[in-house]
Symmetry: C2
Subunit: 227 residues, 2 copies
């Protein structure tokens, strides 16, 4: 297909496709004339993946280039090729600097959390970015004076595992690696608000049962405050 | 206690406490002299709650005032007094305008999601803000061409329910209403990154087992892309 059709079928503008070509994210097409090239389904798949990394995954061009480099490197297996994309998704939480007063607390919490995961037998890298996110959240909660026992972490982890199994099942259902990476990025990012919304709805249901109440009344808060 | 001690014990600056007094979020203290007033533990609790609503909960002064109005109104039960705070937390997703081309898709999805919750027997309000967040996320996924069967919603909902039961147990452990509202806001908001980080770690573990691999290698993406 020509560039115009590639653009139409991918939903990515011609100017943007040319930008990805210049940045080396997308391989050049097969030259047909001095000014035209032919693109195939592989270009289309790659373009969809690039779009997912940049728009859904919020990555920079440079991060997307790194993900694609790993995806294209036969030295890596499927686990690593999918994993590197997840590792680059936001939020990227940096540990505190060496002279930060929060650093000892951070280090202790990071170690505690790694121990919880190790006790569960989880095969995760000690340097996984998500352990930094987890550490930041627990340190913040505790700094504000809220208790957060490690047993909560364990219970949350156990509740998340079956969800991850279902999700990985969907992602592994894509035989073509690029489609699997695209699906992994899309479902990781876009399902987050779904999970969080369902947690809030579950809170409402549990509270309604606990207090044997109906759904929260459809109050008019503006009206309430002015009454 | 005097204003300075109230400030010290709550961690809220004197200027900010005065601002809350002017805005009517905090009740005036008992006058001692023409220029001084006495504050008690109830002021301290209220101040901590205000801080949680505004900083952790990201509410505006006006939203916080609405939450406090419901908390103080004996016409409402505990379920509603806790629920109104949750209803005002971000994200607040508005349905599309009547002339938005996405509106029919939105309406159909909103109805499907309400049906899923009804089938589960969940006691939630059809107007719950979290149903809007859920609808927005599902509409976005589908608009990008990703399948999102309603059975996923059901599975996610079932996985979230036991988590919500544990969390409500903690919140209901606070006998004083203001502390319960504060805990509800804090745990709802601050535990979200914890859940999401554990989901990503669970993905890594499930993938490692599936591919019988170790943890994702601690690659140096910068080095990879330049090799």
């Amino acid at each position: 297909m020509r560039l115009s059709e590639l653009s139409r079928r991918s939903g990515v503008s011609v100017a943007t496709v040319k930008y990805y070509l210049r940045e080396g994210l997308l391989a050049p097409g097969t030259p047909v004339t001095a000014r035209q090239a032919e693109y195939d389904d592989e270009h289309l798949r790659r373009l969809r993946l690039i779009r997912a990394l940049l728009t859904v995954g919020g990555m920079t061009i440079s991060q997307a280039r790194d993900v694609l480099a790993v995806a294209d490197d036969p030295a890596f297996g499927r686990h690593e090729r999918l994993g590197i994309a997840q590792y680059m998704l936001p939020p990227q939480v940096a540990p505190p600097e060496k002279d930060d007063p929060q650093q000892p607390e951070w280090d202790a919490t990071h170690r505690q959390l790694r121990d919880v995961l190790a006790d569960l037998g989880w095969r995760v890298n000690d340097e996984a970015p998500a352990i930094n996110s987890l550490t930041r959240a627990v340190v913040t909660l505790r700094a504000l004076g809220y208790a957060f026992p490690l047993d909560f972490v364990r219970q949350y982890a156990l509740a998340m595992h079956p969800i991850a199994e279902v999700e990985l099942g969907v992602i592994e259902g894509y035989p073509v690696l690029e489609e699997a990476i695209e699906a992994s990025v899309a479902y990781t990012m876009l399902n987050e608000p779904i999970l969080l919304a369902l947690r809030r709805l579950a809170h409402e249901d549990v509270s309604a049962r606990l207090h044997d109440s109906g759904p929260v009344r459809d109050t008019d808060p503006g009206g309430l405050s002015s009454s």
